[in-house]
């Protein structure tokens, strides 16, 4: 039947079109439908290429696992989404083609495509340590602070929310005292994205010259604030991510520090006056926010596939596609001109004010730190372990961070 | 009062009625034999007494209390199951003593009872065997031993000796009786062995199709069967029962006849029955080659070895009757003459199948039918 023909080995269909696979992680709640629409649209208009989209559960980690199995079998899809935290790992271990290389080789007409349409700090997100363009940023997210205005009002606080982390702490404490509810929940997934935002905004650096340096004074101070809220004030619950979000949506937590990708979930399910404000800064400092989301990388092996891959990518990065993409996912568009364009997001942004917080803080975006080398992932894990320890109260912030920093540095050697 | 009383007890499985209105009393301390054809409800009755089978309707009294709802463990009953129900994972000793250990009978006492039971049932040397490594008869003995050691007030035995050889059976039942004479539990004992029934039973309850047919001493059951079923069921070869006509003090077999004793004549006249069946046990039918007064003529059909005598099957005007003889030389087709012992005949009402009763003179003649107890 038809099924067998869609296997990875199949490189062209009956119509002589090149068949390529596009691996994504977009569940239905995260733009899955949009992926399907885009693919359908593309397939309808392309005369040379047919795209098959494969959904990979369990986010970028899940995709990476599947990719690994595929690679072990000596095969590869044409295009994959690579989460930022996997940037280094991906670059070190998988075969890929730099998009510019493909453009240069086969599509001279697109030579300046990247330069023309992407901010350089955005493009830089997808560059390896040596500046090589590994892929092209596709989904961009930043952390924002969602606030329950009703609760803030109830606690007699400014309904526009806190501007700084110090204020967040104060707000939280007040909320706890006034309403008995929790003040803030800072997301705790199995990565250090939010942690990085917290620390680096205070001037710490996760990495300096290939060495972990987060246990600096600024780093410790920033972390301490979080730990104090959890342990001392008990105004921030120590919950897993989904339970934290759930508790914010049903009104048990007044503020939620998490990705803008959660906007639609929060917006459509909360029954209070909800708003998203920019990520808090530290007093006197400007926030540095790691970019979340993913880039698209080309892993296709043979020429036809690569060419087809770029054709599809180019389609995905058109203004219309990116706009659709943004509407469907809640991610920030990677292309600079989309937000204002008539055929872009103009109307959408007008309707969904909460997006603005994310778009406005784009200039503060820095790459998501991805520890270098083979032990990078392990290093990342150590940082997660110490988060559990600190927030669980089994170790002091200073001690924990210092020890971890040291361990990581040993690993990275 | 270790008495067991059935008051209109019924038992059915779904729509199948298995026990149909039992009404009788098992006296305290007696040995009652439960006899009846296969499938007549003996095991079911026993199991009701043990409390293993729910009573569908009616009341069962034990010790003057209705026990319909008393759990089996509370009835102080020991039972030998027809299919043994040995614990397959316990060896002989454990099987036998398990109940005692549970009831915290002292060690030494347990040991004594065990030893006695092993000895009584010749199970010495098999103490550590699992049931699966025993022969059929050995398993049955273990089952019996398990019940014997319990010394319960009620002792129910469901064909406890059926798989044992004659010698062992005789010795086991003697031992059982000996134990009983000592402790006087109330025993209900199912057996298909009629000699066993006669030797062990103080009274016999005969069942058929879930109904009680007769309940009396072995002598009476044997010599004064209450109905045709009883007469035919007890004794082997079975009682000959032939439908006859009664005429003027005579019993007519087709065109042959013989004269009843006056006491029988009186009995028949009193009972006012018209259709009569005549019964006589094979051993009460003398077979001769020559005619005599009051004999019936027939022809030999065949002879069957009955162990220590021979059963001669005789065609008597189309009815097959059996007579016992010491000799086996009864050629087929030979004409023979049968002479019933006139004291030992049975007459039944053909309609009800019940006995028309026995002349009072018979009782006097045989003096009192007191039990001859068995004791060594």
């Amino acid at each position: 039947g038809k099924k067998e023909e869609t296997t990875a080995n199949k490189t062209s269909n009956e119509g002589g079109k090149t068949v390529i696979e596009y691996w994504h992680v977009n569940a239905e709640t995260q733009g899955g439908k949009t992926v399907d629409e885009l693919v359908k649209e593309f397939n309808a208009q392309s005369e040379t290429t047919e795209v098959i989209a494969k959904f990979n559960p369990d986010m970028y980690k899940g995709l990476m696992q599947n990719l690994q199995a595929e690679a072990a079998a000596g095969k590869a899809p044409a295009i994959v989404q690579v989460g930022w935290s996997f940037l280094n790992y991906f670059a070190n271990n998988f075969e890929y083609s730099s998009p510019q290389a493909i453009i240069d080789q086969y599509f001279p007409e697109d030579k300046t495509f990247l330069e023309d349409y992407f901010l350089s700090n955005v493009l830089a997100l997808a560059q390896g340590p040596d500046g090589e363009q590994i892929g092209i940023p596709y989904s961009l997210s930043t952390p924002v602070l969602y606030i329950n205005r009703d609760l803030l009002k109830e606690a007699g606080l400014d309904e526009n929310g806190p501007k700084t982390w110090e204020e967040v702490k104060e707000f939280s404490k007040t909320i706890k005292e006034q309403t008995g509810k929790f003040g803030v929940y800072i997301q705790q997934p199995a990565d250090n994205w939010a942690t990085q935002a917290l620390l680096e905004s205070n001037g710490a650096k996760m990495i300096t010259d290939g060495k972990a340096t987060f246990a600096s004074e600024e780093g410790i101070k920033a972390y301490q604030l979080w730990a104090d809220m959890v342990l001392e004030d008990q105004s921030a619950p120590n919950l897993p991510w989904d339970q934290g979000i759930q508790s914010f949506i049903d009104g048990n937590v007044a503020m939620l520090y998490t990705t803008i990708a959660q906007r639609s979930n929060v917006q459509s399910n909360s029954q209070f006056d909800v708003a998203a404000i920019k990520s808090p800064a530290w007093e006197g400092k400007s926030p540095k926010l790691p970019a979340g989301g993913a880039m698209l990388a080309i892993t296709a092996k043979d020429e036809e596939q690569r060419k087809a891959g770029w054709e599809f990518m180019k389609f995905l990065y058109s203004v219309e596609s990116v706009a659709k993409w943004t509407e469907g996912t809640g991610y920030v568009p990677p292309r600079k001109d989309v937000a204002e364009a008539e055929n872009g997001l103009k109307d959408f942004l007008a309707e969904n004010e909460m997006m603005n917080a994310a778009i406005e803080q784009m200039d503060g975006v820095v790459p998501w730190t991805s520890f270098p080398g083979d032990a990078g992932l392990q290093a990342e894990q150590l940082l997660l372990d110490v988060r559990d320890q600190i927030l669980g109260g089994s170790i002091s912030v200073e001690e924990g961070l210092k020890a971890t920093e040291q361990q990581i540095n040993e690993l990275l050697q | 009062m270790k008495e067991i009383r059935f008051e209109n007890v019924w038992k059915s499985y779904g729509k199948t009625e298995v026990v149909k209105g039992l009404n009788f009393t098992i006296k305290e301390g007696e040995r009652l034999i439960l006899l009846g054809p296969s499938g007549c409800g003996k095991s079911t009755t026993l199991r009701m007494i043990a409390g293993l089978e729910e009573i569908t309707s009616g009341e069962l009294y034990m010790n003057d209390r209705v026990v319909n709802d008393v759990p089996s463990g509370k009835r102080d009953v020991a039972m030998v199951f027809q299919n043994y129900a040995l614990y397959p994972h316990m060896n002989v000793v454990d099987n036998i003593t398990y109940g005692l250990r549970v009831q915290k009978v002292p060690r030494s006492e347990t040991r004594n009872r065990l030893d006695a039971a092993l000895k009584m049932l010749k199970l010495e040397g098999y103490e550590n065997r699992l049931p699966k490594d025993l022969s059929g008869g050995q398993r049955q003995r273990v089952a019996l031993a398990r019940a014997v050691v319990k010394k319960s007030n009620y002792f129910l035995l469901d064909e406890p000796l059926s798989n044992l050889d004659a010698q062992l059976r005789v010795s086991a039942r003697k031992e059982l009786v000996k134990i009983h004479e000592l402790y006087r539990q109330t025993i209900v004992y199912v057996t298909h062995d009629q000699i066993e029934a006669m030797t062990v039973g103080e009274r016999i309850a005969l069942m058929n199709e879930g109904k009680l047919q007769m309940l009396d001493t072995p002598e009476n059951v044997y010599h004064r069967p209450a109905n045709i079923f009883t007469a035919k069921f007890i004794g082997s070869p079975p009682t000959n029962v032939v439908e006859v006509t009664y005429l003027d003090g005579k019993i007519m077999f087709g065109n042959q006849s013989f004269q009843l004793l006056p006491m029988w004549v009186k009995q028949v006249e009193q009972s006012k029955t018209s259709r009569i069946a005549f019964g006589i046990r094979p051993e009460h039918l003398e077979i001769n080659k020559t005619a005599d007064k009051n004999t019936l003529k027939g022809t030999v059909k065949y002879v069957e070895n009955q162990g220590n005598s021979y059963g001669v099957y005789v065609d008597l005007q189309g009815n097959e009757v059996i007579a016992l003889s010491e000799s086996k030389y009864w050629p087929k087709g030979e004409t023979v003459y049968l002479k019933p012992f006139m004291n030992h005949i049975h007459l039944f009402n053909c309609e009800t199948t019940n006995s028309i009763g026995y002349p009072a003179e018979l009782d006097q003649e045989e003096t009192t039918l007191e039990r001859v107890l068995i004791h060594e």
């Binding site: 296997t7 899955g32 098959i52 079998a73 991510w241 909360s270 | 027809q82």
Partner: protein
């Protein structure tokens, strides 16, 4: 058997309590599947939705080839179950009724595989499936699951409780092994076969880790994979749709269980033996 009534009352209470605990999540799931997501977030205590909606089910049926996915799942589960039962049965039979060289070692070897972490087999199995070109095919999902050590284990244990006399009777009748299996052994261990079969079915039906690796196109997806499409840490889990998919996922195994439940009773194998 007569039991003191008072013994049973506390037990009934215990069972009712246990069952409540066990069933509550299911009711919660079913209830949630008829709620709007907003309702689910904000009214957790209303197990029964105030305004029931079929929206969640519609979302599922509209966004995915639901029928195809259910059929895929069913084929996988059914084929896997049937094969596992058959291969386990045959192997167990060999272990119980044959004496052959290497029996013990082989048995130990087979049984020991139940301790092999799936992390060990995942990638190598993927490589094999990929070599035979069965990726993105339900047959690729099925193939490695056609035998099961636990199935062999349980069936062997059950066969070992069949009284040997019954096999002897069969031997006397000169029954072939096929006949002994079909007419004697199988009926006698029916409870074990049925309960394990149902379990195989449910396990395969709910299997996720392995199919995720093999299946790529939504047309080939199974229900647990479809469910994953509503679960996302970053975009948020659509809890109510996920529950709707779960409820749909539950229905077929449940129906199967109801149909086969009556076979899960003891066979009284000893009733024919004195």
């Amino acid at each position: 058997m007569k039991i003191n009534r008072f013994v049973s009352i506390p037990w009934h209470l215990i069972f009712i309590a246990t069952i409540f605990i066990l069933i509550f999540p299911i009711i919660f799931a079913v209830g949630s599947s008829f709620k709007s997501l907003q309702d689910a977030y904000n009214n957790v205590l209303n197990i029964i939705p105030i305004q029931p909606t079929l929206e969640n089910y519609q979302i599922f049926f509209n966004s995915l080839p639901a029928i195809q996915i259910t059929v895929n799942t069913f084929i996988i589960a059914a084929v896997v179950t049937i094969f596992k039962v058959i291969t386990s049965f045959l192997a167990a039979y060999a272990f119980v009724y044959f004496q052959f060289r290497g029996k013990t070692v082989l048995y130990f070897l087979l049984i020991s595989t139940i301790f092999i972490p799936f992390t060990v087999t995942m990638i190598p199995n993927y490589l094999i499936i990929s070599k035979i070109g069965l990726t993105d095919s339900i047959w690729g999902v099925i193939l490695p699951q056609l035998a099961d050590a636990l199935g062999i284990f349980l069936m062997r244990q059950s066969m070992k409780t069949i009284p040997i006399s019954l096999i002897e009777v069969a031997q006397l009748d000169n029954l072939s092994h096929v006949q002994i299996m079909r007419d004697i052994v199988l009926p006698l261990i029916k409870p074990a076969v049925t309960s394990t079969g149902i379990w195989f079915f449910i396990s395969s039906w709910n299997e996720y880790v392995w199919p995720v690796l093999i299946l790529k196109t939504t047309d080939n997806f199974t229900l647990p994979l479809a469910l994953q499409m509503y679960i996302s840490s970053e975009g948020g889990t659509n809890f109510t749709v996920a529950m709707a998919v779960s409820v749909i996922t539950m229905i077929i195994p449940l129906a199967l269980y109801l149909a086969f439940q009556r076979y899960i009773v003891g066979t009284f194998t000893s009733s024919g033996i004195k």
